[in-house]
């Protein structure tokens, strides 16, 4: 199939960017979206042009490295998959595809379609962990956890931190990401110990970095490649509310 690509080109964070049109020919319908971009880049290298920079790593839909805002949707038109898992058969021959980087103040463009998602790491550093003593291996069944709670924690933990929620949100809010990270610990006994500090620190870091507020539009849930539910956002709101309202006397 032959395609016209309208791609955002930006040499560096501080320089101005613009859309550039490219033509690619004879793309297999079975090629993945990233393979199609590889073909384009081969073509650019042969012509002595600067190849298009885009993030990718595992190409198996589990690492969270690939991004791309394709035709107005993070990770393209398919539900529940990342860009690398999307195939060209989702597009029509002769179609024009608009490819943009994630747009959010805390995600500055590094080059072309690559954005700096260090902001997510900073949120994790603020509380997305549990403190455990090192030593011998604890017994697997020492702490019984109801199956239902374990399932909910696992659903939340399936977040790969790609940033599609921020990209999809009209407010560039990171609530779904932070909620998933808060939820996965909130459901488990091991996470309850630091629950109060965790939710407060992670939310305040999220706000400080300049992500927007949640408008409950649920675009994040619709675009999340791991289909993480907005019920986790409600859980985080509860966790946050109770941590602020109900707590022992502070030191």
């Amino acid at each position: 199939m032959d395609l016209t690509l309208k791609i955002w080109r930006q040499p560096s964070t501080d320089e101005k960017g613009k859309f550039v049109d490219y033509q690619v020919q004879d793309i297999s319908a079975d090629a993945s979206f990233l393979e199609m971009l590889d073909v384009l880049n081969e073509q650019l290298v042969v012509n002595d042009e600067d190849p298009v920079a885009f993030d990718h790593d595992c190409r198996e839909g589990i690492c969270g490295a690939c991004s791309l805002y394709i035709n107005g949707r993070p990770h393209g038109p398919d539900k529940g998959i990342t860009t690398c898992q999307m195939h060209m058969r989702r597009f029509k021959d002769g179609e024009t595809i608009v490819i943009e980087p994630w747009r959010a103040k805390p995600f500055p463009v590094i080059k072309d379609l690559m954005v700096d998602r260090t902001a997510f790491d900073e949120i994790i550093r603020a509380g997305g962990y549990i403190s455990v003593g090192t030593g011998g291996m604890p017994d697997a069944n020492a702490i019984p956890i109801p199956k239902r709670d374990a399932d909910i924690a696992m659903d939340a933990a399936s977040c790969i931190g790609c940033g599609a929620c921020v990209a999809a949100c009209k407010n560039a809010s990171a609530m779904l990401f932070v909620a998933a990270k808060v939820s996965q610990f909130a459901m488990l006994p091991q996470g309850k110990v630091e629950a109060r500090e965790r939710v407060q620190n992670m939310v305040s870091k999220m706000d400080e970095l300049g992500f927007g507020n949640c408008s409950n539009t649920y675009a994040c849930e619709a675009e999340c490649p791991k289909e993480i539910s907005v019920s986790h956002i409600a859980r985080m709101n509860r966790e946050f509310f109770s941590s602020k309202l109900i707590s022992e006397k502070e030191k």
């Binding site: 747009r103 009209k170 407010n171 507020n213 408008s215 409950n216």
Partner: protein, 223 residues
């Protein structure tokens, strides 16, 4: 940065939701009283209710709570919206269309028009009722009330005003449709069984409120 900006995003949303739900409860009372005007030709029921609202000491105190609720909801809504705009300085070329709650995109716009409506509404009714003079009317029952009902009927005989009123109330309905279910989510109330109910109820509730308020000027104008 001012103190109001340094509150966390979730705190702001929770307070916004509580203020919004409070304003919704006010709307219900307001609508019920307004509907009284359609029930009798001499407006006795309505004027009696309006008289009660204007003189009851508890309601007078509550009036200030209501003002506070409005100001809180409007100011917080503005702060949140400005922060949201700042969070994406470079816009997308292709607009996203994955929002599941359609009216959520226009909360600031519907809110702004409702705010303008509120100011005009205030000048038309509240200021006159509170500080101006309204001719009293004495009924067969021997009770004398200010005839606020007549003021309303006169205003609603103006076609332009009716159109403005109807459009504003329709936008209020859209604002409520998103706002109602959104308030519960912000307060952390989300349940696989009850959330769909809250959403449906919110939509029906918004429709009833909207149709209720709209019916009054239409009935007065056309009948």
């Amino acid at each position: 940065m001012s103190k109001s900006l340094s509150y966390s995003s979730i705190t702001k949303k929770i307070v916004l939701s509580l203020a919004g739900l409070f304003l919704i409860s006010f709307l219900v009372v307001h609508l019920l009283i307004n509907m009284l005007i359609l029930f009798d030709d001499n407006r006795e029921l309505f004027n009696a209710a309006a008289h009660f609202m204007a003189t009851n000491p508890l309601i007078q105190v509550f009036q200030y709570v209501l003002f506070f609720g409005f100001i809180l909801h409007i100011v917080l809504g503005l702060i949140i919206q400005i922060q949201n705009w700042l969070a994406r300085p470079v816009r997308y070329n292709r607009k996203g269309y994955s929002e599941l709650s359609y009216f959520s995109k226009f909360m600031i716009h519907t809110g702004a028009i409702i705010f303008i409506f509120l100011i005009i509404h205030f000048a038309n009714f509240f200021v006159i009722a509170k500080f101006g003079h309204i001719d009293p009317i004495t009924y067969d029952s021997g009770n004398t009330y200010e005839d606020l009902g007549l003021l309303i009927i006169k205003l609603f005989e103006d076609g332009i005003y009716v159109i403005f009123y109807v459009i504003s109330i329709l936008l209020l309905g859209f604002h409520l449709d998103h706002g109602f279910q959104s308030a519960f989510q912000s307060l952390g109330i989300n349940h696989s069984r009850y959330t769909p109910f809250i959403k449906t109820f919110g939509t029906l509730f918004s429709a009833v409120i909207t149709l209720g308020f709209i019916s009054i000027p239409l009935v007065i104008y056309f009948f």
